[in-house]
């Protein structure tokens, strides 16, 4: 074994072997079936006699052939359905005599969206072969063996002395963008691409967790159930790893315990139980604007239809970001959410911990970060307002379109002015990203108002709310937070999403920066500029730049993970809540010179 790696004992090696075997089994399971159309399920999915009559003639092949894999099967499926689609269209236009201006026309034709949305259920039902016969064995071999292997690898570390153990991180091909890191990154990206864009090709994985789903919520699993299940397992197993690694550090133990708890209960089990009880299945700790679809019509409808509980959930969801964020962040900083509660943060702090050193620390990265994250926040706010605007009634209700848009505008301008003032008080005239971001959002609103009031269109910004929200869902919700956010752990560190893309992080960050008692205190002149803190800051904050000048650290992006403080070999950093941050955060204080009249400029 190379000298530039940590010694592994036989149990750990066994762990690696078992884990690899499990991963291979899991991966291979994806191809362990043939596909033969389950007509009943297709029929149920189509759920339209008229359309199905056109589809059926094309099903001869599909229904009798066993396709070797999901790609061939889905190609055949698409071909059949598109042929049927063309026939339907012809029938609608010639025989029924409908035109595009008839409402009936749109209800009768077979839309692309429908063909697409049926894919997953059809594929899942049509998967046949070993995967079904050996489902339980395969599930145990993938998940059970994987977890066992992981623990066999992790737990023997308890026998080493406790302390900071970062040896060989930069020698490891997994943790320093070597071949193994690249492989893992590609695997993760692949997983997310399937999950968000081609779930019909991962039905075999979903089949594996069907029994667990049935046990928990009485229903069969969707790809989202699989995702939630794997997500929770990752946080739990890698959470144990984090606790073992930092077992000398009580802050890390408690914090990691917290993310493990919130993921398992709030994000995973409680929604399943709510579903079992036929109640709206919500993650009570997820909040707008991270939960960007909170104000989408179907979710609002669902809540308002669910009686008292629904109203409570609606109120809760709004209170979280209107009252919870400002108050709790004022007292404890954004860490209360980002590194103690949040699911994305939870995964980053557990599964992502081995990659934290890969975040970019350069000033340039910070600049890009500020632009991106505040733009996403503006995008999320505008999108939500547009969606709500089109959802709300013109009149006849307490909250009408007009009242809403005026209130939103007033609040936004108020918040912007307040941020400006705070910024000016602390740093002089603002010149950074939110200057522009704020200006843009105000401009957008003026346009919106003109559009809404003068031209009385139901759209804000001339933009179709649905268009806007599907762009957001695709670009930010799926591509950014999932594919890049987790898939890029091995390339750009574990907080890519939290740092560059999360609108909630931007919002929490503004509060943390301008109105919070949280800061990282620097211990006098003890810093030796070694750089451990900056290297291990997952948010790419150059902690050392502050510490070596004796400055306290107040950065909107700091998620308060506490790792900079843990790895500092000289005991220089401490996360603290105290009186509001003062000049300790801006003065250069490593100086041991007290000259009357000499003030240090920075």
């Amino acid at each position: 074994m190379s000298a530039k790696s940590n010694r592994k004992n036989p149990i750990q090696i066994l762990g690696i072997i078992l884990f690899s075997a499990a991963l291979i089994t899991f991966t291979v399971a994806l191809g362990m079936s043939g596909f033969k159309l389950d007509k009943e399920v297709l029929k149920a999915q189509v759920n339209n006699e008229y359309q199905y009559n056109f589809i059926e003639p094309y099903l001869d092949n599909l229904g009798s052939t066993e396709y070797p894999n999901s790609f061939k099967f889905m190609a055949a499926y698409a071909e059949s359905l598109h042929s049927a689609q063309a026939d339907i269209l012809k029938d609608v236009e010639t025989n029924l005599g409908l035109t595009t201006s008839d409402g009936e026309y749109w209800n009768t034709i077979l839309k692309d969206d429908k063909i697409k949305s049926m894919k997953f259920a059809v594929a899942k039902a049509s998967s046949i072969g070993p995967i079904r016969e050996h489902r339980n064995t395969l599930a145990w071999l993938s998940f059970g063996l994987g977890i066992l292997g992981a623990f066999l690898y992790i737990l023997p570390k308890l026998r080493e002395s406790s302390g900071i153990k970062n040896n060989h991180i930069y020698h490891s091909p997994l943790h320093s963008k070597g071949w193994l890191g690249i492989t893992v990154g590609i695997y993760l990206v692949g997983f997310y691409v399937l999950l968000y864009f081609f779930p019909e090709h991962m039905v075999n994985w979903v089949l594996l967790v069907d029994p667990i789903s049935t046990f928990l919520n009485g229903g069969a699993a969707s790809q989202w159930f699989l995702y939630g299940f794997l997500y929770t397992i990752c946080i739990l197993v890698m959470g144990v790893r984090m606790i073992v690694k930092y077992r000398h550090n009580k802050y890390q133990i408690i914090r990691t315990g917290s993310v493990m708890f919130f993921q398992t209960s709030f994000a995973f089990l409680i929604p399943e139980i709510m579903a079992l009880l036929n109640k709206p299945a919500v993650d009570l700790k997820n909040m707008w604007p991270l939960d960007y679809s909170f104000f989408f019509d179907y979710r609002l409808d669902k809540l308002t239809e669910s009686g008292g509980l629904g109203l409570f959930l609606l109120f809760w969801g709004i209170a979280l970001f209107t009252i919870g964020v400002p108050f709790i962040t004022y007292f404890f900083g954004k860490r209360w959410y980002c590194s103690w509660v949040c699911g994305c943060g939870g995964l980053a702090e557990t599964l992502g911990d081995p990659y934290r050193q890969l975040s970019d620390k350069r000033m340039k990265a910070w600049k890009i970060e500020r632009w991106m994250i505040h733009s996403v926040l503006v995008f999320a706010v505008v999108m939500t307002i547009a969606v709500l605007y089109s959802y709300l009634p013109e009149s006849g209700s307490l909250i009408t379109k007009d009242r809403f848009i005026w209130t939103a505008l007033a609040l936004l301008i108020g918040a912007t002015v307040w941020i400006f003032q705070q910024y000016k008080k602390k740093n002089g005239m603002p010149k950074t990203a939110f200057y522009v971001a704020a200006a843009v959002s105000v401009a957008l609103f003026v346009i919106a108002l003109l559009n809404g009031i003068v031209f009385s269109s139901s759209n804000v910004l001339y933009l179709d709310a649905y268009q806007l929200r599907s762009w957001y869902g695709f670009g930010i919700g799926a591509a950014f937070s999932g594919v890049v956010g987790v898939g890029f752990y091995p390339f750009m560190g574990n907080r890519v999403w939290c740092r560059f893309g999360c609108p909630l992080a931007a919002y929490l960050g503004l509060v943390q920066r301008f109105k919070s008692r949280f800061r990282i205190t620097t211990n006098g002149g003890q810093c030796i500029s070694c750089g451990n803190c900056s290297t291990y800051c997952e948010m790419g904050i150059d902690v050392r730049a502050y510490a070596q000048r004796g400055q306290d650290i107040v950065r909107s992006s700091c998620v308060g993970c506490g790792v900079c403080s843990a790895v500092c070999p000289r005991g220089v950093l401490r996360l603290e809540n105290g009186p509001e941050v003062d000049e300790r955060a801006t003065e250069e204080r490593a100086i041991h010179i007290d000259l009357e009249g000499v003030r240090l400029l920075d």
Partner: protein, 446 residues
Amino acid sequence: MHILIIGNGISGVTAARQIRKLSDHEITIISGEADHFFSRTALMYVFMGHMRFEDTKPYEDDFWAKNRINLVNNYVDEVIPGQKQVRFQDGTTLEYDKLILAVGSKSNKFGWPGQDLDGVHGLYHKQDLEAMERHSEGLKKAVIVGGGLIGIEMAEMFHSRHIPVTFLVREDSFWNMVLPPEESQMVTREILENGIDLRLSTELKEIWGERSGKVKMALASDGDKIECGFVGLTAGVSPNIDFLRFSDIDIDRGILVNQKLQTNQPDIYAIGDCAQLRSPQKDRRPIEAIWYTGRMMGETVAYNICGHEINYDPGIWFNSAKFFDIEYQVYGDVPAMLPENYNTLYWEHPGGKKSIRLNYHKEDGHILGFNLMGVRFRHEVCEKWLAEKTPIETVLQDLKLANFDPEFYRQYEDDVLALYNNMTGSTLHSRQKRKLASVLNFLGRA
């Protein structure tokens, strides 16, 4: 005015940064070691794979141009005060109006036979790290000579590569010319627990090489011959001033400077590891080769050059280090041997990896120093207590103000207080919490 600084370590770079803040003078920094300032203290982390070399650089590479600080990568061979010139290895010269010598240290070599063999190295410069890296490939055994801070770092470095280490230490307990006996014992235990072959009361006699010139064996004072492929010389450092021997600059062990950090030659200053104070403060050594004093000297010299005359004042002593997993901090006066008129209160955690020591005056009872192992204390709070000669009992009652461990850590101030009560029959009670608000209040900054 052209200010030339030889040395891009912490002292030279601090001087340059402060001069830039205070003035518009032209600034040039020369170093033959590396293009850019890096943190010497982090070399071990590069070797152990915690960081890449570029992560040890405290400033981004474009910082220097942005701040109009010229960088020259070259070795100075000679300083010619009469012509206000320095001459480089390659014969070229550079003029200065003011010259700051910030040339640092080099590893001590005490004339051991074989000390220049291939595979015998100190750990100070970047090139030493590269040499260690080169020799580590397939290395079966390393011998480290000299039980100081750099020696134990080197031991940890080889240990991380699973290379067996024999550690020759002259003293009978690790670093006991600096650490009090209990702390020294604690570190000694930590070294042994990490599987290092620690040989106390043992010195290096000679080093033998192969015909090829490569090191082969180290002979210890106990007569043991230790076969090895690397010998680390870490028996202290001394000012790196050989190239100044024939200039007219006054030199003793280091470059002699006055309170303004001026040498005997006009417009030449010396700072950092290489400077030797002609009249150091009471209780301080003339050469203090540590990071913090280098930084303070850099600041002081900047003020002096920019027209704010000021004496060098290192303030109250502080330092810190890490011995494998045990962090160490010291504030004030904690000598290895307890002087007659000192009292000491020493508390040690049953686990044997944490301790808190408070030294105080025997007669008037004021606090004299803090020594912490595995516990973090607040610099500013300790400094204030020390500067104000606070009575030990006040310190003990307020001791929680000093705690700087991360949140949720178990605190031990009550145990320390209980120990004191036990020893003296007092009945003191803790009257502060470790709240930041209380701390800032105490520091007069609320």
